[in-house]
C-alpha cells in the first residue's frame, strides 16, 4: 500500500500555489474534521459510551421513532451514533498521527544514515526498504494482530511500521542530492562532522518533502487502521474508532444502516480531503519524489 501513493503521484505541475475549487473544498473539510476531532468532547451531544437500553436502534433526525438530540440515531446499545463517530474520528486521527510520526522517525533516521554512510550500512538499509515493499504488509499486520491479540501499543507500532520505507527513500535520495551541492561540499571541506552537516544543512531542506509524505501517509494509515478495526483487530469495544464502528455495526446494516453509514461517510471524507490536501501541498512545494 505504502509506495503506491508515491507511484501514482509522480511530479506533474509546478508551483501551483493557489488551490483550485476541489482543493479549497478539501482543505476546508480537512480543517473541519480536525477541528471536530480536537473539540469532540465539547461538540458531542452525548457521552460516547453512555448506553440507554430503552432507546436502542433509533433512526436519525427526520425519520419515525427519532429520539431527540440523537441527530444521527442511536446504536445497538442506545448510544449516540454522532457522538461515537466524533470520538471515533478523534481516536482514528490520533492513531494515524502517532503511526505517521513513528514511521517518520524510523524511516527518517534510517534514510539519513543510508544517505550519509555508504557501503554495507546503506546496502542493508536499502535491502530492508525493498523487503518492506515486497511484503504484502496489510496481510502481515492482519495476521500479527489477530494472533497477538490487539492492544493500542501493538496497533500503533504496526501502523508506524506500515509506511517507514517511504520516508527512508525520500530522505536518502534528498541527502544524496544535497551532498553533491557546492555548499555542502564546502561544509565538508571546512571540516564539519556528519551530525553538523545533517542538522544544519540537510534537515532544513527535508522539511517540505517530508510534510508532503507525512500527509499522504496519514490517509493511508487511516485506511489501514479502519480496515484492521473493521475486522475486529484494531481498536476494541467499547472504545469507538471509525473502522470498528463500521465493523460492529454491519450486523445491523439491514435494520439500522445509520450505524454504519455515519462512520463510513466520515472515513471517506477524511481520507479524501487529506489526500487532496497532500496533493496540493506537493504541487505547492514542487517536490520531485523519486521512485528509487
Amino acid at each position: 500500500m505504502a509506495s503506491l501513493a508515491d507511484i501514482v503521484a509522480r511530479p506533474r505541475r509546478k508551483g501551483h500555489a493557489t488551490p483550485d475549487v476541489v482543493q479549497k473544498i478539501a482543505l476546508a473539510v480537512a480543517a473541519l474534521l480536525i477541528f471536530a476531532a480536537l473539540f469532540a468532547p465539547l461538540i458531542a451531544p452525548f457521552e460516547p459510551l453512555q448506553q440507554s437500553l430503552l432507546s436502542r436502534l433509533r433512526p436519525p433526525i427526520g425519520f419515525d421513532r427519532y429520539s431527540p438530540w440523537h441527530f444521527a440515531g442511536t446504536d445497538e446499545l442506545g448510544r449516540d451514533v454522532l457522538s461515537r463517530a466524533l470520538f471515533g474520528l478523534r481516536l482514528t486521527l490520533t492513531l494515524a498521527f502517532a503511526g505517521a510520526v513513528i514511521g517518520l522517525l524510523i524511516g527518517g533516521t534510517l534514510g539519513l544514515i543510508a544517505g550519509l554512510v555508504s557501503g554495507w550500512v546503506e546496502d542493508t538499509i536499502m535491502a530492508l526498504v525493498d523487503m518492506q515493499i515486497a511484503i504484502p504488509f496489510t496481510l502481515v499486520a492482519l495476521l500479527v494482530l489477530s494472533l497477538l491479540g490487539s492492544n493500542i501499543t501493538v496497533l500503533v507500532l504496526v501502523l508506524g511500521i506500515a509506511g517507514w520505507e517511504q520516508y527512508a527513500r525520500i530522505v536518502r535520495a534528498e541527502v544524496r542530492r544535497l551532498s553533491a551541492l557546492p555548499f555542502i561540499e564546502a561544509a565538508w571541506t571546512a571540516g564539519a562532522g556528519p551530525v553538523y552537516v545533517a542538522t544544519r544543512h540537510v534537515l532544513p531542506n527535508l522539511v517540505s518533502p517530508l510534510v508532503v509524505q507525512f500527509t499522504l501517509a496519514l490517509s493511508n494509515i487511516v485506511i489501514l487502521e479502519s480496515t484492521l478495526s473493521f475486522l475486529g483487530l484494531g481498536v476494541q469495544p467499547p472504545q469507538p474508532s471509525l473502522g470498528s464502528m463500521v465493523g460492529l455495526g454491519r450486523d445491523y446494516m439491514p435494520t439500522a444502516p445509520w450505524i454504519v453509514l455515519t462512520p463510513a461517510a466520515l472515513i471517506v471524507l477524511l481520507t479524501f480531503s487529506v489526500q487532496i490536501t497532500g496533493d496540493w501541498l506537493r504541487d505547492r512545494a514542487d517536490v520531485r519524489l523519486r521512485e528509487r
Binding site: M1, S3, L4, I7, V8, A9, R10, R12, D20, V22, A127, D130, M131, I133, A134, I135, P136, F137, T138, L139, V140, L142, L143, V144, S146, L147, L148, G149, S219, I223, S226, T227, F230, L231, V246, R250, M253, P254, P257, V260, L261, A264, I267, V268, T271, F272, Q275, I276, D279, R292
Partner: protein
C-alpha cells in the same frame, strides 16, 4: 544481467524467509491453540492428551526446526482442525481467489487505461479534472466500505445481486468492483502521469508533425509507450494490494478463497493452515515482484546499471 537476476532472486529468498519466520513467531507467541479450536469444557487430562497429540508439547525451537525442515521438503503438515494436508486445504482455495483477482485486473485495465488517457489528453479541461477527482475518490474509499455499501444498496434494498459465494457471473460483480476500486484509482492516475510524460516528448511532436491523426498519435505512440511502464506497475505494486484486498472482500462476500481461509484460520488458530496460506500468498507476491523487476530491467538497461 545475470548478476542482477541473481540479486533479485537472493532478495526474494530473504524476503520469503523473513515472512515465514515472522508468521511462525507470531503464531507461537499467541499461545496454545487447543482451547480456541476445541472450545469449552475440556478437562486437564483431556487437554494434555490433545496437546501431545498435536505435538504442541515440544519446545519452540524444535517446532521451528521441524517447521523449516517441512518447508524445505515440501511437507507442510496437517490442519489442526480437519486433519487434511494443508497443501490440499490451500490448493482448493486457489482457483476462486485467482478468478477474483483476474476479473479485478481485467476490470481495472478496462476502466483505468481509457480514463487515464482521457485525463491526460484533456488535462486542461473539466474532463481531466473530473476524472482525477473520481480517481482520488476511489483511492479514498476503503474496499470494506465500498463492499458493504454496495451490498446494502444492490442486494438488500434492491434485491438485484447475490451476496454469497462464487456460483455465477452475478456473484462476481460486487466482489470484483470492491477489489478494483483502489486499483482503478491508482492505475488511472498512474496512466495519466505516464501519458503526460510520453506526450511531452520529441517523438510525439514528430509524429504530429508528420500529420498523423491525433487519435493515432495518442493511442499508438502515446499509450504504446506509456503502456510498458503501466503494465510493470501492475505487477510491482498491485500484487500486495490485491492480497490485502482479497482478505477483506472474500470475508464480506463469503468468497471461498484464500483470504477468507486465512482469516478463519487465524481466528481458530489453525497454525499449519495459516503458515502455509501465508507462505503461498507471499510466494505469489514475491514472485510477481521479482519477475516484474527482471522484466523491467530487461526493457530498460538503465535500471540494472543503476542498481547493480
Amino acid at each position: 544481467m545475470i548478476a542482477y537476476v541473481l540479486r533479485v532472486l537472493a532478495k526474494s529468498a530473504v524476503t520469503l524467509f523473513a515472512i515465514v519466520t515472522v508468521t511462525f513467531i507470531a503464531t507461537r507467541l499467541s499461545g496454545n491453540p487447543i482451547e480456541t479450536f476445541l472450545g469449552e469444557g475440556l478437562t486437564t487430562e483431556g487437554r494434555e492428551e490433545l496437546i501431545r497429540y498435536f505435538q504442541l508439547d515440544r519446545s519452540l525451537w524444535e517446532q521451528y526446526l521441524a517447521f523449516l525442515r517441512g518447508v524445505l521438503s515440501g511437507e507442510f503438515g496437517l490442519s489442526f482442525v480437519d486433519r487434511r494436508p494443508v497443501t490440499q486445504v490451500v490448493a482448493e482455495r486457489l482457483w476462486p481467489s485467482a478468478q477474483l483477482l483476474l476479473s479485478s485486473i481485467a476490470l481495472t485495465l478496462a476502466v483505468s487505461l481509457p480514463l487515464g488517457v482521457l485525463a491526460a489528453v484533456y488535462r486542461k479541461s473539466w474532463v481531466g479534472s473530473a476524472v482525477m477527482v473520481v480517481a482520488f475518490a476511489g483511492y479514498a474509499v476503503p474496499n470494506f466500505i465500498l463492499a458493504i455499501v454496495m451490498m446494502l444498496v444492490f442486494s438488500y434494498w434492491l434485491n438485484w445481486l447475490p451476496v454469497v459465494g462464487n456460483g455465477s457471473f452475478a456473484h462476481f460483480i460486487m466482489p470484483t468492483i470492491a477489489m478494483s476500486g483502489v486499483l482503478i484509482a491508482a492505475l488511472t492516475r498512474f496512466t495519466r502521469n505516464a501519458m503526460l510524460d510520453v506526450l511531452g516528448q520529441d517523438f510525439i511532436r514528430t509524429a504530429r508533425a508528420k500529420g498523423l491523426s491525433e487519435l493515432r498519435v495518442v493511442l499508438r505512440h502515446g499509450l504504446g509507450n506509456a503502456g510498458v511502464t503501466v503494465i510493470s506497475v501492475i505487477g510491482l505494486q498491485f500484487a500486495g494490494l490485491a492480497a490485502a484486498g482479497s482478505v477483506v472482500v472474500e470475508s464480506i462476500f463469503s468468497w471461498p478463497g484464500i483470504g477468507q481461509l486465512l482469516v478463519n484460520a487465524a481466528i481458530i488458530r489453525d497454525y499449519p493452515v495459516l503458515q502455509f496460506g501465508v507462505i503461498a500468498v507471499a510466494i505469489a507476491v514475491v514472485a510477481i515482484n521479482a519477475v516484474t523487476d527482471i522484466a523491467y530491467a530487461l526493457a530498460d538497461p538503465r535500471i540494472r546499471l543503476a542498481k547493480a
